[in-house]
Symmetry: C2
Subunit: 516 residues, 2 copies
């Protein structure tokens, strides 16, 4: 057998009558711990190149400055720290941000309510979290529609059921059927109630951030929350070079509660950043340095993550594009920049512009996810479920991506060089011209030898055809339904849940519904 | 605008009335030269790990040995070289193969009949070549069917029309409508007639290899062929640890004509190799060392490439799987091993097990192609068109993959750190809170700023829906038809073509048709 062999039957019958049909019934979930990488880092930029980007970021901070809007308190913090504040524009002397960031931890643990699910953020760790933010959902049966709290709970359950999904995430979709001023309560409660993995908090208003922290205290205890990170939250810069009051308000609440923030410039190059990779890198580094510094001014030592969401726009239509080479270069180089600062790094995910979970979606997603893993991203938001430029959470794509992140976990584990891994005795046993199908080493490693995909169809054409000729979209449709059918909620102390429900009810009663 | 922004309308209207609609008419082809990488290599194994693999390969060669079947001449060559030959089994003293391989060139040029299309094999170069070997083709209109010589010519034309496809390849599909003992003549002629990119020769019998060399002499001149590489050919080991007479016969013809061979162990781990990465690596290194050595014994200095085709089988069904993490680890580590020997390396491609060009196909292909590029593979066979484990050449997947390799070419080019690339003046011009859409730097770089996908739909949901809601498969169907409609053959000296046709006619008349 070789690439030369033209016989269409060459692969039929291998495995033969002894081959076992894959059991597709109820699965036992073995949850994976967060990834501790055992492969070297992929890097794309030289030390000299990185130094150039850093110098340019310092020039941006010093000469152009960053706007911190509608937040006099933050401007006062900057003045105290030695920045030159003109109106709302803050100019940072070269090196000031790096100096401020010396109090930020290189790595930290985000605790989950199940201690086995706690994750390390930073260092050699990589943590996968679901899609964040879409107002729509899509599935094969009902198509595209506004998301509801039921969808939200479903995605929390699917994340819980996905072994390599280490984190429950945050706004897995926007439950638009719940008033905008109250939905954060149901979202945080859903993460706590339907999962035992770590989760993210609300950032849409400072008081909603405060509610998140309060609910976390009810689960973990106030002392634990004061000491340890139990909530992580996403703070976006309003690129280029602006932070607004909403984000700054939430940032301060979390930092002062000793909770983690992910400070993420959100740059679509060509619109919110220059059309070049090196230009985008300098701008995002400047924005991240400025934003991360505010966390340390608010509370020195508060855990903070250097975040990057960077893609490009189509120069023809202005629409965002994903999975193209330029954002990959930005991602990998930004990870290098974060390591030089000495803070954890967030980027990547299974990003795509496609409207369907088709080949476009998969190519684009793979070209965002794999560079993130190889490049050493510590916190990979949007690791599963993202569709249509982030406007849609897709049920089918969630489980497709969930399969891919399982593969990434194996990849990051590197090569087993034990005697069993070297397998010299197997090679001796089999010898030239024979096969390994039944040899002792194969039998001993049968169960765990290779990653076993939950979505891929590797059968012969004839068998696949006889089974209905389904594509990956159709197979994924069956899988997520099976996962939801198999779902069992993790145990939660009834007293804690009751306390949370009372808190939510009281909060909801205290204000009228708002929908904008 | 940020990840927080839940408004479904947030992306509508960007680019506005000034945005240009993408012109989808007849394209001018700008062919890309082969890739000269400007990014660092991704590696996954330590020096210590590599040394362990090398020691194990030496143990395999010395202790277990390699079978060279039905070829007394090769056995005699091995005896002369100092190997211990017992029957057809050759045992190599430790270090013998490396010593023999010192005459192999580190890099070489394969000439194309158009000098602008000549490619470097080895070093910092990466060259993409099409799918090789499938007996079937598939397109959206007609489904799956046996390949014909018309399909063969179509794929040669599509490769010619794909800017980042640097090579015309070899058996882009098996033209089963032409007798098996004569089809190599039509295949080689098609590569010469319908493309001006470099190509691969026949290996299915020594006399067919000789025909290939003879036809190359008619195109390039006998002196050039004696001096330079003008044909590259694929020689598979019959893993585990066997070379057969057909492959050895072709190998000797090409090596003695100073033409390049790609010596490729073809290992589906679990069937033709151990179920572990380290075990597979040791076996494939041993097989490659032994096979490459034969080229140098036949003609010292003949160009030779370390090839690897490695994937796994499903332990449930025995079917080959692709895009899983274990073969990725094998690929990247094998590239490291080849660099230590000092020979060019072939692996990778857009491999998949899927029966359709769907999300499965794309995930799997991306997870084969991107590691090949990042890992520094020099010759990437199967870079486009591969479907169904290599049983099918897919028209739609060919153009999808052709788009992806264009992206890989940009990625491998790294980051532009010129003043224009750094774009500091653009950042100064725009400033906080504004946008880059119309700034001078964006306008100056408008045309070339970002890779422009030929397949991706980045439009809004509403526009995509209004245009028929097509998936990537449907869009690719339209694209390959357009490419074939736009195809114009490169000029070929009528005298050369006439000579080739006469040669082919005489050869065909000299023997009866054979179909097996």
């Amino acid at each position: 057998m070789s690439e030369q062999d033209a016989s269409p039957t060459r692969r039929r019958g291998r495995g033969g009558s002894g081959a076992r049909r894959e059991a597709r019934g109820r699965r036992e979930i073995t949850q994976f711990p967060y990834i501790s990488r055992r492969i070297p880092l992929t890097e794309i930029m030289s030390e000299e190149g990185l130094a150039t980007i850093e110098a340019n970021a310092d020039t941006i901070l010093e000469e152009i400055g960053i706007d911190f809007r509608d937040d006099p308190e933050v401007l006062a913090l900057w003045r105290e720290a030695g920045a030159d504040v003109k109106g709302e524009r803050v100019h940072l002397p070269r090196g000031l941000a790096r100096s401020i960031l010396k109090t930020a931890p290189r790595t930290f643990i985000q605790r989950a309510r199940n201690p086995e699910r706690s994750v390390q953020i930073g260092g050699d760790a990589t943590v996968f979290a679901p899609v964040y933010g879409p107002p729509f959902v899509r599935d094969l049966d009902q198509g595209r529609r506004y998301a509801t709290i039921e969808d939200f709970r479903n995605f929390v359950k699917l994340a819980y059921m996905t072994p390599a999904m280490h984190h429950s995430g945050g706004t897995v979709c926007e439950p638009v059927d719940v008033p905008v001023n109250k939905r954060h309560l149901d979202m945080v409660h859903s993460h706590i109630r339907y999962s035992d993995k770590p989760f993210m908090g609300s950032v849409t208003a400072p008081e909603r951030a405060a509610d998140t922290v309060e609910m976390a205290r009810m689960v973990f205890g106030a002392e634990t929350v004061e000491r340890d990170c139990v909530v992580m939250s996403l703070i976006n810069a309003n690129s280029p070079m602006v932070y607004d009051a909403t984000m700054l308000g939430a940032l301060k609440v979390y930092a002062r509660a000793n909770q983690a923030t992910v400070i993420s410039p959100f740059i679509l190059a060509g619109a919110m950043g220059p059309v070049t990779v090196a230009g985008t890198l300098a701008q995002l580094l400047a924005e991240a340095l400025a934003g991360m510094s505010v966390t340390q001014l608010a509370r020195p030592g508060a855990p903070v993550v250097f975040g990057t969401f960077s893609s490009s726009i189509s120069m023809q239509s202005g629409a965002p594009t994903f999975g193209t080479p330029e954002p990959t270069l930005v991602l990998v180089a930004a990870a290098q920049l974060a390591r030089r600062i000495g803070v954890p790094f967030r980027s990547g995910g299974s990003l795509c512009a496609s409207k369907l979970p088709d080949a476009q979606a998969a190519y684009e997603s793979a070209h965002s996810l794999l560079p993130a893993v190889l490049g050493g991203v510590n916190f990979v938001l949007h690791a599963a479920g993202w569709l249509e430029g982030g406007l849609v959470s897709s049920y089918e794509k969630f489980v497709m991506d969930g399969d891919q992140i399982g593969m990434m976990q194996v990849l990051a584990g590197g090569v087993d060089l034990s005697d069993n891994g070297q397998a010299l005795d197997a090679i001796r046993e089999v010898g030239p011209g024979n096969h390994y199908l039944g040899c002792a080493h194969t039998q001993a490693n049968f169960q765990t030898a290779f990653y076993r995909s939950s979505i891929a169809d590797n059968n012969s054409f004839e068998q696949w055809d006889a089974e209905g000729g389904k594509d990956a979209y159709q197979r994924a449709n069956a899988l997520w339904k099976q996962m939801l059918a198999d779902y069992e909620a993790p145990a939660l102390d009834p007293g804690i849940d009751e306390g949370l429900r009372d808190f939510i009810a009281a909060k909801k009663e205290s204000m009228p519904d708002a929908f904008a």
